[in-house]
């Protein structure tokens, strides 16, 4: 890029539209969503948005499959193609991640689209001061925030680009594109708006903080390699020229930016607060799609740019993985809020996936890919159940309110218990298969101590999952116990998809495992 500018001649960039069409479609529909907000009357907006968003995500998924099955892309055993003048990589792991994100985003949007008056999670007017007369008017008028759909689409577009970015600048842009809409979405909760706005604020501040680190890391790496292209950094690192201090400090800071997004300890502080405060459907979106996307980017950076430096980053990453697993599982034990509990659980799971990442092999990559897909479905399902258990003030988030749920609503409690068992990694659930896959890859990669810590953390984690199950089934309900609302078809579909995916990936994981290992067989394109 810099070369062409220096020459003073601007050649039109060549864009492989056919290979990038899924992302382009999502971005295009996001822009179209903004136009809908601007020009379509309020009553008609929701319907149009639903068609655009759900249809667009489904279409983008189909296009991803078409791209993934195109013969020309992988001709002569090519790992893939670097499109858009070297800015975007199109290869099998990326397509797998993008497909996963699209499916999970589709399910999340089902939750976001829940509109029955009781369950809708979004404020009528974000700008209205909590508790003001303005807010009450908006609620009474039945206004809902339809901006969430284009915002979601922008975020999803950013998530698709983030793991595909082949240079660090593109990656940074994608990071911001995915983060900014999420900051907004976090502050849109209908109930407990102060908490929600606080969460959005925290997320924004800390996100900006980490972005600064990320950007600084990019600068250091550019200083080292003279390029922001991942392959160029890798080449420079292996040629052993330049300052290793620049390289390693850059690695650390870029890594920090990515680890922040997945919520690894000690960069996890935002996660419980934001997961708790954000509207639950947005939490589901973040816990599934954002994590998948961030892991995709992390995998690409560490496998492509720093693939030669495994001996340098492994000790630090080991430490972080151990801290993440242990701290996530430990702190979760004393949580009393369901969403915070799931947030810490998400932190612990990030640690488990990190063990697969650290293996730095094709097996580690494929195990991580499988784990991400399996975990995404389960976590969306769990958050979907959380939206259903409500008291007059909104969602009944405090664990004590869940006591005895199994006696009043055995089906809902049973489904939630099933998701918890999947988180705990009980056999015949996808959680077991995923954990088995990453631990196996880690053992094969020589990380036996890491796996031992992982298994012990799983044991600790199992305690608090089972504790919730015991609470639901073996305690008596409180007199002011929350009720379980009857979900509309959207939430039901999300729950059912979560259950089905968790069962199927636990009982017959082979097709998806095969797909993941096929996707990972040639690693990333350089």
């Amino acid at each position: 890029m810099s070369a062409t500018i220096a020459a003073g001649v601007i050649t039109p960039p060549s864009i492989e539209y056919s290979q990038l069409c899924p992302m382009l479609l999502v971005f295009g529909l996001a822009v179209a969503g903004v136009l809908v907000e601007a020009f379509v009357p309020r009553q008609a907006r929701r319907g149009i948005h639903l068609v655009l968003t759900l249809g667009g995500l489904a279409a983008a998924f189909v296009l991803t499959i078409v791209v993934a099955s195109s013969k020309s892309l992988f001709r002569d055993h090519a790992a893939g193609h670097v499109a858009a003048m070297g800015a975007v990589a199109v290869d099998r792991p990326t397509l797998f991640i993008q497909g996963t994100i699209l499916v999970l985003a589709f399910v999340s949007v089902l939750l976001i689209a829940e509109s029955s008056h009781d369950v809708s999670s979004f404020a009528a007017q974000a700008a209205a001061i909590p508790g003001s007369a303005e807010e009450r008017e908006g609620l009474l008028a039945g206004i809902t925030h339809t901006e969430v759909y284009p915002l979601t689409m922008f975020a999803v577009g950013g998530m698709l680009l983030f793991p595909a970015a082949n240079d660090l600048l593109t990656m940074f842009v994608a990071l911001e594109v995915l983060s900014l809409p999420l900051y907004l979405l976090c502050g849109l909760a209908r109930r407990r708006r102060l908490l929600s706005q606080e969460a959005a604020m925290k997320y924004f501040l800390l996100g900006a903080f980490s972005s600064a680190f990320f950007l600084f890391g990019i600068a250091l790496l550019y200083g080292f390699a003279g390029s922001v292209r991942l392959s160029a950094i890798a080449a420079a690192a292996s040629s052993d020229t330049g300052s290793t201090t620049l390289l390693l400090a850059g690695l650390a800071l870029v890594g920090l930016g990515l680890l922040f997004k997945i919520g690894a300890v000690p960069f996890h502080g935002w996660k419980p607060d934001v997961y708790q405060g954000a509207p639950t459907p947005v939490t589901a979106l973040m816990a599934s799609c954002t994590v998948v996307s961030a892991f995709g980017a992390l995998l690409r950076v560490f496998y492509v740019a720093f693939g030669q430096l495994t001996w340098d980053w492994r000790p630090a990453m080991w430490t972080i993985a151990i801290l993440t697993m242990v701290a996530g599982a430990l702190i979760a034990i004393t949580q009393t809020d369901v969403k915070r509990l799931l947030a810490y659980s998400s932190i612990a799971h990030a640690g488990f996936i990190l063990t697969g990442v650290i293996a730095a092999t094709a097996a580690g990559l494929s195990a991580s890919l499988f784990y991400l897909a399996a975990y995404g479905f389960t976590t969306i399902g769990a958050f979907a159940v959380v939206t259903l258990v409500r008291d007059p003030a909104g969602e009944a988030a405090h664990l004590s309110q869940w006591a005895g749920l199994g006696k009043r609503s055995p089906l809902v409690a049973g489904v939630f218990a099933f998701f918890l068992l999947a988180f705990a990694g009980i056999p015949l659930t996808s959680g077991f298969t995923g954990k088995f896959a990453v631990f196996q890859a880690a053992v094969a990669g020589g990380a036996v101590p890491l796996v031992i810590v992982g298994v012990l953390s799983s044991a600790i984690a199992a305690f608090f999952y089972v504790r919730v199950i015991v609470l639901m089934f073996f305690s008596d309900p409180a007199p002011d116990a929350p009720s379980v609302v009857t979900p509309s078809v959207f939430t039901s579909a999300a729950v059912v998809l979560g259950v089905v995916a968790t069962v199927v990936l636990g009982v017959v994981p082979q097709p998806l495992l095969g797909l993941a290992s096929h996707a990972a067989s040639q690693l990333f394109v350089r």
Binding site: L206, S210, F213, T245, L256, F260, P266, I331
Partner: protein, 652 residues
């Protein structure tokens, strides 16, 4: 001998298993609804299996001797990777001989039980268990691989447990059932280890596969395999050192004793050894183990049987002793396998007959089992006495009866093994013959002849009750009577078998030649009546005279006299239980207590401490989550500093 796929009537041989299994399922799941006709179904099931077994048997006879091995593949069990076990049924002379014994004698015992259990409210359940036993036993002998055999093996163990403890309201019965189960577990562990070792060595557990590759394994493996199989056989067949359960197992209803603890289940060990003859032929160590176990147990059981006053326990000791003969024969190798099976089949008849006779006596004597309270019953129970007498003549080996044709050749074969060991084994077998004659004569004399001691007993008891007052119900004098027809006819049929089976099986070495394709017995085994056979007969006659001298000529005291050291020891099962108690049970209890202590203090302490630590750490760590962005940012900042520092440090 090559095995061919089963055709014709044998193609549906699974029906043999299905009949009793169906009976068991219907009777056990049908509940009280089936009470009225349950016993009829229970009898029909083994009869149908017997009929089908006969058909299969004659189909087998129609094949040439070399082709009498038919396999029926049923299904493949969990084909995973290299683990492939095809579940199937093997029909050859050995398995079908057992099928006919199990279903034939079993059917007679079922019929007998209709009368014996007529007054029991749980008769249907009893028949359900009996059918379950028959099904499991048939699976044991018909399976074409060790895994299927093991399933049947466990199945008969379960059925035996349920049947011994059938009157579970009696604590002794419940304890006896547990004891039988636990003693059998020890043996089962041996069998399961043997199967695992087989799979590890040969990669298969099918009979044909294991036997075809047996010669490839080293002598150590073969010895281990043989001894583990022997351990399994000892458990099921109540041989030393796992003999202790059989005597207690007499707590079960008498037909159970006849069916399980005389005719069929306890012979499973013999079946296992004869079936695994290829393995034992390759290991003289294992063979020696079998011989020693057999010789010692035959003496052990015989001595116990001499001292017991309980008629069933005496018969139980006799069973141990007779199975000891079978083990001894089986341990002799190809020359002995056929003889072992011959005695086994003959024994199935006469021992079942003896047990049913004992049951008939008990039936008439208000369930009294102490022979010292019998006496003079021959006149009151003529059919029982006659059939019992025929079986008696058979077991002590009077020429013309079946014991003579089947047991004496074993004694001959033991001597003809030669060397010191042959002489020792032969002598043991010879002494055993004398013991057999002694305790059986004693039993017959005490039960059917002499003074009617039950009359005195009742009078004494009535007098005692009268002195203590009217509160206690007056002790009724038993009214011995002949049992109903439904109990007599099975005994009569079995008596015919007791008389004729031996001659039928032994004439012209019919059975030995029939089994030869399986046992690979060389032609021309030792003749029937040799010098040692005559010696055994002479010894038996001396023993009969001695028993008459002690129990026929003199009056039998109603209370057992003190007796010498040996008598006391024999009454206490030769301290088998005391040995188990002091060597196994007490150390086991100490070990248990120690483990419990360790579990409470060590493991639980560790776990609880760990849990408390984890909980405390969690409580402390969550305080880090203050909710202030500034502290999170600070954590990130320090994290970043550490990360950079750590990465740079690695390169230093």
């Amino acid at each position: 001998m090559t095995t061919v796929a089963a055709t014709g009537v044998q193609h549906a041989a699974w029906l043999m298993l299905a009949f009793p299994l169906f009976g068991a399922v219907v009777l056990l799941l049908g509940g009280r609804r089936t009470d009225r006709w349950g016993h009829l179904l229970g009898v029909a099931a083994p009869l149908a299996a017997f009929g089908y077994g006969l058909a299969c048997f004659f189909a087998l006879l129609s094949y040439p001797a070399a082709g009498r091995s038919r396999d029926l593949h049923l299904f493949s069990w969990i084909p995973v990777g290299g683990f492939r076990v095809s579940i199937g049924m093997l029909m050859d002379p050995l398995s079908l001989s057992f099928v006919l014994l199990i279903t034939g004698v079993g059917s007679l015992i079922h019929i007998y039980s209709v009368g014996y259990m007529a007054h029991d409210t749980d008769r249907r359940r009893f028949f359900g268990y009996l059918n379950l036993f028959i099904a499991a036993m048939l699976l044991l002998v018909l399976s074409d691989n060790y895994l299927g055999l093991y399933v049947g093996w466990e199945g008969v163990g379960l059925a035996s447990y349920l049947l011994i403890g059938f009157w579970q309201f009696k604590p002794t019965a419940a304890v006896a059932a547990k004891k039988a189960f636990i003693a059998n577990r020890v043996g089962d562990a041996g069998l399961s280890l043997a199967i695992m070792l087989m799979f590890a060595t040969f990669g298969t557990v099918n009979f044909s596969g294991v036997f075809a590759r047996a010669h490839e394994a080293g002598p150590g493996v073969m010895a281990a395999l043989g001894l583990l199989l022997l351990l399994g056989a000892c458990g099921k067949s109540a041989q030393l050192p796992l003999q202790s359960w059989l005597l207690d197992a007499m707590e079960g209803p008498t037909p159970v004793s006849a069916l399980i603890h005389a005719a069929t289940m306890v012979t499973a060990g013999v079946y296992l050894i004869v079936r695994s003859n290829v393995i034992f032929d390759l290991s003289s160590t294992a063979r020696l183990g079998v011989q020693v176990v057999g010789a010692v147990t035959l003496l052990f059981g015989g001595i116990i049987a001499c001292a017991k006053d309980d008629i069933k326990k005496s018969l139980a000791g006799s069973t141990m002793s007779q199975i000891g003969y079978m083990f001894l024969a089986a341990g002799l190798g190809p020359a002995g396998y056929g003889l072992a099976i011959g005695l086994l089949l003959a024994h199935g008849f006469f021992k079942a007959n003896l047990f049913l006779g004992a049951g008939s006596v008990m039936h008439g004597m208000d369930d009294e089992v102490n022979m010292r309270r019998y006496g003079g019953l021959a006149r009151l129970m003529p059919v029982t006495a006659a059939t019992f007498g025929l079986a008696y003549l058979a077991i002590i080996g009077i020429p013309g009866f079946s014991g003579f044709f089947t047991k004496d050749p074993i004694i001959e074969a033991a001597f003809s093994k030669g060397g010191v060991s042959g002489a020792l084994l032969g002598t043991a077998a010879l002494i055993g013959a004398g013991l057999t004659a002694f305790y059986m004569t004693r039993m017959v004399l005490m039960t059917f002849f002499g003074k009617r001691r039950w009359e005195d007993q009742a009078a004494a008891a009535a007098a005692g009750a009268g002195q203590e007052g009217e509160a206690e119900a007056p002790h009724q004098q038993p009214h011995p009577h002949e049992s109903p027809q439904v109990m007599l006819w099975p005994m009569i049929l079995l008596a015919i078998g007791s008389v004729g089976a031996g001659a039928f099986l032994a004439t012209g070495d019919r059975l030995v030649n029939f089994l030869a394709p399986v046992t690979r017995t060389p032609a021309a085994p030792p003749g029937i009546v040799g010098p040692y056979g005559l010696g055994a007969l002479g010894l038996a006659l001396v023993a009969v005279a001695a028993a008459w001298w002690m129990y026929g000529r003199r009056e039998v005291p109603a209370v057992a006299p003190a007796g010498g050291v040996l008598v006391v020891a024999a009454r206490k099962d030769l301290y088998g239980d005391a040995f188990n108690e002091s060597v196994l049970m007490r150390p086991g209890q100490w070990l248990t207590r120690l483990s419990v202590y360790f579990d409470n203090r060590g493991v639980d302490g560790l776990v609880n401490t760990f849990a408390a630590t984890v909980g405390g750490a969690s409580g402390r760590l969550r305080k880090v989550q203050t909710g202030f962005v500034r502290s999170y940012a600070l954590a990130m900042f320090f994290g970043a500093a550490l990360l950079v520092g750590a990465l740079l440090l690695v390169r230093l």
